[in-house]
């Protein structure tokens, strides 16, 4: 026990002596949490809207005014011709073009039916989908309004059946993105920090040659490993704590569930990450190699964690791969506990998976560590 505490002291000293690394460890992740959480939003706003109005009637004007009144669209330009509007879209100056044909008003009066053209820049498919929904909503509202003013009484005699549906959004009724993203980004930052630091730490000693010196001392392997990993584990919990405070104070993210439960999960989770770091260290000879491997897994883990895109929309095989992704569980759990107030029983499946994961990872790490020496 004494030996372990000496190694831990030594490691802590090494971390805090390195003045260059301290801001990187503490400031970089927290600064990113504060800044980048604001970037992660799928709200589609400020859509650059242009129109080509060949009709120039009171009706076409009224339709355009409906777009001007919408909070989603920035009405930018009126183009005299389709080709000029298209050119603006090519230059990226407009996202959506509404084209109203010259016989719009007269057809609407005579035939009760007229067409308009909507052209959308669809490079970002999901954004284009949302834009199309907004446009359809505005135009069908407009339809309903002119229907009631122009249509005769025959409409009102036969009241159509209506299925009314009332949406209600639970746990985040203002659909605030920050509440959703901040806990997830915090998880990412804690994971990256602890994985990179632990993964490079031991291989560094290998590369410089000090590991051999340690190996000839009477320190036992497990003491050495615990001594090495404990400081990073503590560091992870510390960053997690500061991050939780930031999300509570700056972003007003609610913490509905139990805080000890968050810490319980975090503690076990960090063991998984540290075990991975150790495993990477064991199978590499240089810090460069260790870093490439760590990077490879981190990018995959991040993009397949359900943080930015939902896991349900992935194909089956990809969903199965996410079973191996520790970040996935942490993102799931922190959102469940913080936002929904899920309790111990609710998170038990994930907690047991992550505990098993921690056992396997560390067993593998310790086993392979012995083998290489």
């Amino acid at each position: 026990m004494k030996t372990i505490s000496y190694i831990i002291q030594k490691e802590f000293r090494q971390i805090f002596r390195n003045k260059g690394m301290l801001p990187i460890i503490f400031v970089l992740p927290l600064l990113q949490l504060i800044i980048l959480s604001n970037a992660a939003t799928f709200d589609i706003e400020n859509i650059k809207f242009s129109y080509v109005d060949h009709d120039r009637s009171s009706t076409s004007r009224a339709l355009i005014e409906n777009f001007e009144g919408s909070p989603y669209f920035d009405v930018l330009h009126s183009f005299p011709s389709h080709s000029l509007a298209y050119e603006a879209m090519e230059k990226g100056k407009t996202d959506v073009i509404l084209e109203i044909p010259s016989n719009f008003h007269t057809r609407l009066i005579r035939e009760q039916e007229a067409g308009v053209g909507v052209y959308i820049n669809a490079i970002d498919g999901s954004k284009a989908g949302v834009e199309s929904v907004y446009i359809n909503k505005i135009i069908s509202n407009f339809n309903r309004n002119i229907s009631t003013t122009t249509a005769g009484f025959n409409q009102l005699q036969n009241k159509p059946l209506e299925v009314l549906n009332v949406p209600s959004f639970w746990y985040n009724n203002t659909l605030n993105y920050k509440i959703f993203m901040v806990p997830g980004i915090l998880v990412l930052l804690v994971t990256m920090l602890t994985l990179f630091l632990s993964g490079m730490n031991i291989v560094r000693e290998k590369e410089i040659g000090t590991l051999e010196q340690i190996n000839v001392t009477p320190i036992k392997k497990y003491q050495f490993i615990i001594g090495k990993l404990f400081p990073f584990w503590a560091l992870g919990l510390l960053i997690m704590t500061i991050g939780l405070l930031i999300s509570r104070i700056i972003f007003a993210v609610p913490i509905v569930g139990s805080i000890p439960l968050i810490y319980l999960f975090t503690s076990v989770y960090l063991l998984v990450v540290l075990g991975m770091g150790l495993l990477i260290s064991n199978y590499t000879d240089t810090q460069q190699q260790a870093m490439f491997i760590a990077w490879f897994f981190v990018v995959i883990f991040i993009l397949m964690s359900g943080l930015f895109t939902p896991i349900e929309s992935m194909p089956d095989w990809a969903q199965k791969i996410t079973i191996l992704n520790p970040i996935r569980y942490f993102v799931e759990i922190i959102r469940m506990v913080m936002l929904k107030g899920s309790g111990f029983k609710d998170i038990l499946p994930q907690l047991s998976i992550i505990s098993g994961y921690a056992l396997v990872m560390n067993a593998l790490a310790v086993w392979s560590y012995k083998k290489t020496n």
Binding site: G20, M21, L28, E113, I120, I179, I208, Q287, T309, D346
Partner: protein, 368 residues
Amino acid sequence: MKRFIGFVKKEFYHIFRDKRSMFILFGMPIAQILLFGFAITNEINNVEIGILDKSKDNETLKIINKINASQYFTIGNVVENENEIESVFRKGEVKAFLVFEKGFAENLHSLSIGKIQVITDATEPNTANTIVNYIQSIIGHYQQELNGTTGKGVQINIETRMFYNPELKSVFNFLPGVMTVILMLVSAMMTSISITREKELGTMEILLVSPLKPFQVVLGKVFPYIFLSIINALVILILGITVFGMPIEGSLVLLAFETVLFIITALSLGILISTIAETQQAAMMISLMGLMLPVILLSEFIFPISSMPEILQYISHIIPAKWFIIILKGIMLKGVGLMYLWKETLILIIMAVFLIGLSIKKYKIRLE
């Protein structure tokens, strides 16, 4: 010059001899592109919907069947009262509940109005919103069927055309993004690490007292990575075209030129990082920890920049990846040429020149 070529050769040997790193360097982009091209999507598919049907009549059954038959939803939990909804949500099993009022069909036919409540787990706002939109459109269709074609009023028909990506494939949006992230991180990270490695191991001093000029040392170290990054870019492009059917509407020559320009910009960022960092660990933390999230989040890779707060929109201007993604999408999907992309190109050139200039200045200071 001869000495310099010799040095570059040595660096090449150095990198290619390390089989494991080579495997990672080339295997990584392939694995990532394949994974992300197939897996990352914002589309909603097979979302599990819970049902609370207090009416259990013909009409509710029809609506439930319609929901179940759509590709977007499958019916998961069926509960008997409101209290159960919360506990199902807490376990995270379903994303939304459809609640039918008591006597739904009766109300619909006698009062002409039947009420359905859609309750969503909105911890994930985007999904919640999309689910509500889809359900509304399914119910809307059902309502039209109920009413038949009678009583049609004045109507404006919308003819929508989606430009550049008519099938709304999300892979066309993600692929340029993934390519940018890989090139950016690999280039910046590799250079910064390989230069700081010499510093940390003490071999940099030896290189600097050799007859090679400092800039030749740096250039010699960077050169193999330019080569590696170009091969990486090629692999990604070929995969994108053959596996995902990514179009390249514009000029290949321009695409090649812009890619090399971006690689040089990323490499110069790596050089600058190596002038700041003393150890490989510091270099890695700065280039990986410091660059990864900003590159992913502020480049329009996943989130639209136009929706971000104004300050962040300004910050995004200094992220080279943002400009490269605009260029890539322009050439690949829109098929536009330099006439439309000169501004973005110029910005990348200025960034590269600025970063290289700054690194040269830093190196001089260090040598004094």
